[in-house]
């Protein structure tokens, strides 16, 4: 090793320069690699920071479902009920869901504006759904019961509340994730109008 020392002194020949450049290649790779990870983590559309998972069913036909009534005296919900020629809202809610209370006045407002709202009650008991509607208002036309979230999974919905805008042919045209706040009402009405 010791007699090699004089040779290690860098002489600025073209080959030595080339060798120096090659030494930077792994670092360049590392920078590209970590840059890619950083980008994907912070800006990527599939990043873990993107908390709301959008349904890929937007643009697709409502999946096949045939749900029993969630409360006695109110019809349940079938796929055919969502393709009646008229655009509708499909609200995914639950009596145990706190944000669902927040959006209740906005749903009432939409219903008063002439919008038909069909609903799916997730993991709910009839008496709880009944109590929820008594307490916070009842804007719903039909309410299907989804005791094991199977209809929710078929819709690509990942929580409550979520609201789907469905056109007259039963195609999902818009998904609203989370509660409908007062400022979201125009956007929902707009989506319904566009679905006409």
């Amino acid at each position: 090793m010791t007699d090699e020392a004089p040779m290690a002194a860098p002489t600025e020949t073209p080959t030595a320069k080339k060798k120096h450049l090659v030494l930077w290649v792994p670092l360049a790779f590392a920078v590209i690699f970590f840059g890619f990870f950083a980008y994907a983590l912070y800006f990527g559309t599939d990043s873990p920071q993107q908390r709301a998972i959008e349904s890929q069913m937007v643009g697709e036909q409502v999946p096949e479902m045939d749900l029993d009534p969630a409360v006695p005296g109110r019809p349940g919900l079938r796929t055919a009920d969502l393709a009646t020629g008229e655009p509708k809202l499909l609200n995914v809610f639950a009596s145990w869901c706190v944000p669902c209370i927040t959006e209740a006045p906005q749903l009432m407002q939409l219903q008063n504006a002439g919008v038909t709202i069909e609903a799916i009650a997730i993991r709910d008991r009839p008496q709880d759904v009944y109590g929820f509607l008594q307490r916070w208002g009842d804007p719903f036309n039909r309410i299907g019961a989804d005791p094991n979230s199977q209809a929710q999974l078929a819709l690509g919905s990942s929580g409550v509340p979520e609201t789907f805008v469905i056109d007259g042919n039963g195609v999902i045209v818009h998904q609203h994730i989370g509660e409908i706040r007062p400022e979201n009402v125009p956007e929902i009405l707009n989506a319904l109008e566009n679905a006409r």
């Binding site: 792994p26 890619f36 998972i53 349904s55 145990w96 008991r125 690509g156």
Partner: protein, 138 residues
């Protein structure tokens, strides 16, 4: 003493679970193994590679969330009905995107995951080879 009450209340509120729980019991096949061990093994393998929608850092096999238990029930019921695990995965990808699977399919976006390590090892071997050769010459 009074000044302590507000922070304690806030701390208690903050400690409440993020996701409310329903009053319904878990689905039958959420926590019960399939009677056929081969089918249960298939189901388990699939459940371990599906991401929980509400807890996000866990697989549905690891999560106590109600949605995860309903997804386990879905997986077990479909496997018991003779469905192929890959078809169940595809069914979920169709609804939630590639996001749902910990075993992403090989396509134009995901190919670097598989091939970049090979390319990097190749580049490393090439670099090392050059160095060894030079040392021999000296």
């Amino acid at each position: 003493m009074k000044r302590l009450i507000a922070p304690v209340l806030i701390a208690l509120l903050a400690a409440m679970p993020l996701h409310a729980q329903s009053r319904m019991p878990a689905a039958q096949w959420a926590n019960q193994q399939l009677p056929d061990p081969a089918q249960e093994a298939e189901a388990k393998e699939l459940m371990e590679s599906l991401r929980c929608l509400v807890c996000q850092g866990q697989s549905i096999a690891d999560s106590d969330a109600e949605m995860a238990s309903d997804m386990r029930a879905l997986v077990r019921e479909r496997i018991a009905a003779g469905e192929n695990p890959d078809d169940i995965r595809d069914w979920l990808i169709q609804r939630y995107g590639r996001w749902i699977t910990y075993n992403p399919p090989l396509d134009t976006v995901t190919w670097p995951l598989w091939f970049l390590p090979l390319i990097l090892i190749g580049a490393g071997v090439w670099l090392a080879r050059g160095r060894f050769r030079r040392r021999k010459e000296s």
